[in-house]
């Protein structure tokens, strides 16, 4: 497995090069001059525009620009943005918040999703199963921004149980509802996946064997059945870490959380590509690493998987 992991890590290099090049290329090719609209009502003077273009290397060929990007990235120097503020310091402020939000969402997906799935799978056709099936259907049919606005309005404005927006500190308590919103889709999906695999595995031969070995019902369900039924749900959760990131951008927008999403959102509006490019590249990296982690996790969960 060690060799496999190393090989996979090496494979990341060309993929990262390719994707970051594409991000650079796309972003700088977008229509509209990023500097022309930076001077309020008036058009910017040509001297300003050409000075900025020179500072950010826009006057050079694409490949040279990309080379500079790589060099700076590897030396950890992300430069300044169009407002001459350090990009690295902005990222350093924003990342921890987004990571906290993301981890909380994954935990909510895993704990609530799996628990709900196991319950409804074991009590198939019963009252609890129906309640869970209907609520997951609800979550699945509502886009994240709708769920977000509804909960913000209901809990924040009407009932006033929470602050409608999150403070700069972004504490765990404040992030609870946003994390739930972010988790909602995957949570519902996890519950359904778990339910299906519980129902399928419940009648399997090895569960029958465990019963005929005289194991307690708790052990049959909690060890033999659960361990097998978790495989699809955990794999799903891992592969969805990537989509969680794009969900985080929406969620941060709704609750005014100053994470990566917020940063990216303003940067796109301002055409500030000095922020967009590193953030997008980091998101790609997170996505790739999460996928690798899932593949390795899959092998730990299911010994039948071979790494070759």
């Amino acid at each position: 497995m060690g060799r496999y992991a190393i090989r996979r890590l090496l494979q990341l290099i060309p993929v990262l090069l390719g994707t970051t090049f594409l991000i650079n290329y796309m972003v700088w090719q977008l229509p509209g001059d990023p500097f022309a609209a930076r001077c309020g009502q008036r058009a910017c003077p040509d001297s300003y525009i050409s000075a900025m273009r020179a500072q950010f290397g826009l006057d050079q060929p694409m490949l040279v620009q990309y080379w500079h990007f790589l060099k700076n990235l590897l030396s950890g120097d992300l430069g300044v943005n169009f407002n001459q503020v350090s990009v690295a310091s902005q990222l350093a402020d924003a990342w921890p918040i987004t990571i906290r939000l993301g981890l909380m969402a994954v935990a909510i997906e895993a704990i609530i999703g799996i628990a709900a799935g196991v319950l409804s799978g074991l009590k198939r056709g019963g009252f609890i199963d129906n309640v869970i099936t209907i609520s997951t259907l609800f979550m699945l049919s509502l886009p994240i921004f709708v769920t977000g606005f509804i909960l913000q309005w209901l809990l924040g404005v009407q009932l006033q149980w929470i602050n409608p927006t999150v403070s700069d500190a972004a504490t765990v308590g404040e992030l609870l509802i946003p994390a739930f919103v972010l988790a909602s889709l995957n949570l519902a999906f996890t519950a359904r996946l778990t339910r299906t695999s519980i129902v399928e595995n419940r009648r399997s031969d090895y569960v029958r064997t465990a019963i005929s070995k005289g194991m307690t019902n708790r052990r049959v369900v909690g060890v033999h059945l659960l361990r097998n039924s978790l495989i699809p749900a955990l794999t799903f959760l891992g592969t969805e870490i990537g989509s969680l990131m794009s969900g985080a951008i929406v969620t941060e927008g709704i609750f005014n959380i100053h994470g990566i999403g917020g940063l990216l959102f303003t940067a796109i509006n301002n055409h500030d590509f000095t922020i967009v490019v590193p953030v997008a590249s980091l998101l790609v990296l997170v996505y790739l690493l999460a996928n690798l982690l899932v593949d390795l996790l899959y092998g730990v969960l299911d010994p039948r998987i071979r790494y070759e």
Binding site: D205, Y206, R208, S212, K213, G214, R227, D302
Partner: protein, 343 residues
């Protein structure tokens, strides 16, 4: 020829029988209707005795065994009558917690397909050791040591090195040995083997049967061997129960049954065993289809396929006639069937 004595003189407390299935009825309630899978099965096994249960596919052999173990799918399955007595106690009336303690300790079971019967995500040694940990409260280390001993006992080569391997890393025969090791871990008094060799190569089949016979001799277990292969049982079984349409149609000590069957269905089965001396000749196979459990034939369930059929067979259900102390046949005309063979 060696005379086989019924080995009922044993250690059992209830007329010798350790496990008695008495007039068991099981049905499956499905959308298509009520399938009567088991219709009054009665059989028993004593310590040290091997009972072979024979019958074609769908005759209710496995369902009966699952009911004994308490692993019947309920629903759709439903036990509609009868008793299953283990050491005189009706298991069907036992509370679940006490019933559970009988499994593994008193009665164990091995299945046809060891690959699916073993849990794919746990090492085989762990699965054997679990018996000692849960039933006996053994420590992990002790239980693992015992698991290795058991793997040795069922002759898995390099047991010590392989104890942490997973089921898919073993061959079919080795997997079945692991199943057997798990089933005999706690020295059960009765072992039920449901077609333990059907999924295996012929040479491996013989090895597994030998192993089972040897283990049984050593520990004096009662063995219920379910199969639809008459050839397999001749060497190992003491007595045979033949099932058809969820009923026992004939039971007899093994050599009596081979020499002189008392039911037309048994006769058909015997004549369909491939024999070396008849090589090249066409086999006699029982004509017709197994009965439809949703709509059983009236009278004797075998009548649509029976060469001995008379008028009464289509209307009257034949009871299990006693032929002698150890033999029975559920055929109105068992005398003719016996005679016809004895000429």
């Amino acid at each position: 020829m060696i005379e086989v004595l019924p080995e009922s003189a044993g250690s059992g407390t209830h007329g010798g029988a350790l496990l008695e299935v008495d007039d068991l009825h099981v049905e499956f309630r499905t959308r298509a209707g009520v399938a009567k899978a088991v219709n009054g099965v009665t059989y028993s096994v004593s310590a040290g005795e091997t009972l072979a249960v024979l019958g074609e596919s769908g005759s209710g052999k496995s369902v009966t065994a699952q009911t004994i173990m308490g692993i019947l799918d309920m629903p759709p399955g439903k036990i509609t009558g009868g008793e299953i007595r283990f050491r005189g106690t009706d298991l069907l009336k036992l509370p679940e917690d006490e019933r559970r303690k009988v499994r593994g300790e008193g009665i164990s079971m091995i299945f046809q397909d060891a690959l699916s019967a073993l849990n794919p995500v746990f090492p085989v040694g762990w699965q054997i050791a679990e018996m000692f940990r849960i039933h006996r409260g053994a420590s992990r280390a002790d239980a693992k040591k015992k698991a290795i001993e058991l793997m040795d006992r069922v002759r898995i080569p390099a047991a010590k090195e392989r104890v942490s391997d997973y089921p898919h890393q073993f061959s079919g025969g080795m997997r079945q040995r692991i199943m057997i090791a798990m089933a005999i871990a706690l020295d059960p008094e009765v072992l039920i083997a449901d077609e333990p060799t059907t999924a295996l190569d012929v040479t491996v089949q013989a090895q597994i049967m030998e192993l089972l016979a040897e283990l049984q001799r050593d520990s004096n277990m009662g063995l219920i061997l379910i199969t639809h292969d008459l050839g397999v049982v001749a060497d190992v079984a003491d007595k045979i129960a033949v099932m058809y349409g969820g009923r026992i149609v004939e039971n007899a000590p093994v050599h009596d049954l081979y020499r002189n069957p008392a039911h037309p269905y048994t006769k058909g089965l015997l004549e369909s065993i491939p024999r070396v001396d008849l090589k090249g000749q066409e086999l006699y196979a029982i004509k017709g289809m197994p009965p439809n459990l949703l709509d059983m034939p009236s009278g004797c369930a075998f009548h649509p396929r029976c060469p001995y059929r008379q008028e009464t067979c289509t209307t009257d259900v034949p009871p299990l006639h006693t032929i002698s102390g150890t033999r029975g046949s559920a055929c109105h005309f068992w005398r003719e069937v016996l005679d016809g063979d004895a000429q």
